[in-house]
Amino acid sequence: MTVSRRGFLNAAALGTAGTFAADMTRFDVLRQSSWADEVKQQGKRVILLWLAGGASQLETFDPKPGRPTGGPYRAIPTSATGVHISELLPKMAARIQQTTAIVRSLNTKNADHGGGATIMETGRIKDPGIEYPDLGAICAKELGRLDSAVPDYVSMYTSTEGRRKGTSGFLGSRYAPMFLSESMQPENIRRLESISDIDHQDRLVLRDLLAKKFTQNRYSDSLGSQTQAYQRVRGLMASEKLFDIEQEPAETRAKYGPTQFGQQCLIARRLVEAGVPFVKVARAWWDSHGENFETHRELCADLDHSMSVLLDDLKDRGLLENTLVLTFGEFGRTPSINASLGRDHFAAAWSATLSGCGIRGGACFGKTDEDGQKVADGEVGAGDLFATILTALGIDPNKEYHVGARPVPLSDFGAKPIKDVLV
């Protein structure tokens, strides 16, 4: 096969298809990155730990011990003076001061799974007129490279309940997530055995030659996106190993532990280390209408361990100062406890955390009232949280995209970053 390849490529280069010879260099562009000036916010990364279904703020970052709404668990001191979190998160408690800021005063108003998720994915309420991109797509665009050989938005959601892929909205499919739903490996990333590597490469070269002729006198961004998509195929295939945790030393794998969420956090670390700007790991399903305390005992153990190991690992590798780790879901849970010892949907006063890049560790912003029913101080919405996230990454939250003639700022109109949690 090596012979035949040389045969075709030489012919193409020498003249029969000589008019295309110059185009052969296009494939080197991927490696030589002549588009270096496209690189923005160099090296900043995001890992979003999406607590799908809605984790309880009272059993995580805003405990109310001893109150009728408080549930059975104690609050424990953290490494940040005066900040207490649930005893279900002992490992995180030891890391708050060093890495993590807590926002306890989110009021996002929508306590419906779909509506709440839309708000927390895009930082604003749904608008039938505009398909807004989600945080992953915004970060892919702002932090990624056009010619990136690695994916720039990876989304993992392996449970089936409440599964959401994420959306790049008006930014277009170029920024749509590579979505891992069925397994820990992306779909279609591995070459079929029925085709040799040489053939796989050559047909892409030939495809590009013919496409060039067609697109020469036709002006369309959509057309260009197809060329780009096919040009990224080989690079993405080369990133297959990033999803293979067997590549990690046994010691590292042992640290992350055996749960799927832990393993996905390890994949997330491998991805950001390789330059992927946005990775979302969804941990489903926190929707504890029944047996809230048992559910949180189980799931918080997973969250506490995986998040702590991830933060440690990022720190040890010098990645944490450029990697922002976020935890939140579509909403929190009701302070009142229902008859099944459950908590229901609640968006009026709940918590999120931000760790690492651009974040003041140990900061604890906002307060809820003594039973956690309302925000008592520092109320913020999803837009403010998004403005904070973008600011932490060095992205101007007021920067505007243009949808047709319509200017759309990255974070919602009127949203303000929470300065207290920023460095």
């Binding site: 279904g53 001893g66 009728p68 549930g71 059975p72 668990y73 104690r74 392996t158 449970s159 089936t160 309940e161 532990g257 055996p258 749960t259 799927q260 941990r283 489903a284 399903w285 929707d287 504890s288 209408h289 029944g290 047996e291 048992e294 559910t295 005992r297 189980e298 799931l299 153990a301 997973d302 406890i337 229902n338 008859a339 099944s340 010892l341 459950g342």
Partner: protein, 352 residues
């Protein structure tokens, strides 16, 4: 006088401000000592004209009180998620002794029929036996893995003594039951009820339920195991109340009962002294009580209760039950004769 489950009738319905997690009854009375979500023990006389819970005082528990037993008419012992056992003078409602008993949350306390030994189970997966008088730990044992097969923390919710006090059974979240000889602490039997472990590996990746209740038949030959069955949606307690009955010495499962009438978690089980029926109770959004014919496995009688029930107490003649749970205490009779009209007037509960 034999009871008649088909005559089940609610006679009291009392609202309380907190969630009652456990109960013990002062013999031959309507006085209940219940532990609750307000971290306290309370006493209430359900036969009083206007029953009012009276909280115990002093330095008490730091979390939900999930187990309470009476070691003598005037001494109560409670256990809590705070890992402590506390001895109380019931009359003064003051603590007299505190013991740091478990590393993790205590889920249940039971007392041996002779009143001398207390057994506690907790999420450290240990069962511990205590001298009811001195508070001294007599023995601890465990046959329960701290981590589930899916690598999450397991839980040990259920413990019970046999009627003669000879045996003790413990049951965990993944459906494993160990049976112990009380005096020696040696394991004498095992039963597996994996149908009570609701791990959902595809949709939601978590579990709720596990073994929540255990009861030996009066002759100690059978053990009943209660919890919740296969859940389509484990966000809710949305599955049949599930009971399995085993002849544990033979290692045979006698019945597998999935009660479709009530979607609920079984929180408590009790055999009648003749061994004819098994009483189960528990709940989801509201509660239920079911009497099952032990021989046939068929329900004899079942009814709704107005709240999710966390524990039951029975009277001496086994024809009256005292259920405590979500913001309510309910008394029901199932006597052969008609219940007296004076107790038939339900109280209006105000705690909903």
């Amino acid at each position: 006088m034999p009871s008649d489950p088909t005559k089940l009738q609610k006679t009291k319905d009392i609202g309380i401000p907190s969630i009652a997690m456990c109960v013990a009854r002062v013999p031959n009375s309507g006085r209940l000592i219940f532990g609750s979500s307000d971290f306290k023990l309370h006493e209430i006389d359900v036969f009083a004209e206007k029953p009012q819970p009276m909280p115990f005082g002093g330095e008490g528990h730091q979390s939900y009180v999930t187990g309470v037993v009476l070691t003598a008419p005037n001494i109560a012992v409670s256990g809590s998620y705070d890992g402590q056992l506390i001895w109380w003078d019931v009359e003064n409602r003051e603590p007299t002794r505190k013991v740091k008993a478990h590393e993790l949350w205590i889920r249940r306390l039971v007392i041996s029929p002779d009143g001398k030994t207390i057994a506690s189970v907790a999420d450290d997966m240990q069962c511990k036996l205590w001298n009811a008088d001195t508070g001294e730990m007599l023995r601890q044992f465990s046959d329960h893995k701290p981590i589930t097969p899916h690598d999450f923390p397991s839980m040990l919710h259920a413990v019970t003594f046999s009627a003669d006090g000879k045996f003790l059974a413990t049951g965990d979240k993944v459906g494993h039951v160990a049976i112990w000889e009380t005096t020696s602490g040696s394991k004498v039997g095992m039963v597996e009820a994996p149908g009570l472990y609701t791990w959902d590996s595809k949709q939601r990746r978590h579990s709720i339920g596990g073994i929540r209740a255990l009861a030996f038949s009066p002759d100690s030959k059978l053990i009943a195991v209660g919890g919740i069955g296969q859940i389509g949606n484990i966000d809710h307690l949305d599955a049949p109340a599930r009971i399995e009955i085993f002849d544990w010495q033979k290692g045979e499962r006698k019945h597998e009962l999935n009660n479709d009438k009530f979607k609920a978690l079984v929180e408590d089980l009790a055999f009648d002294p003749s061994g004819q029926w098994l009483l189960s109770s528990g709940g989801a959004g509201d509660g239920f009580v079911t009497f099952t014919n032990v021989e046939t496995g068929k329900p004899i009688h079942q009814d709704k209760l107005p709240m999710h029930v966390h524990q039951l107490a029975l009277n001496e003649s086994h024809d009256m039950l005292f259920a405590v749970g979500h913001h309510k205490i309910v008394v029901s009779e199932f006597k052969v004769s008609e219940p007296a009209s004076t107790t038939a007037e339900p109280e209006k509960g105000g705690g909903k």
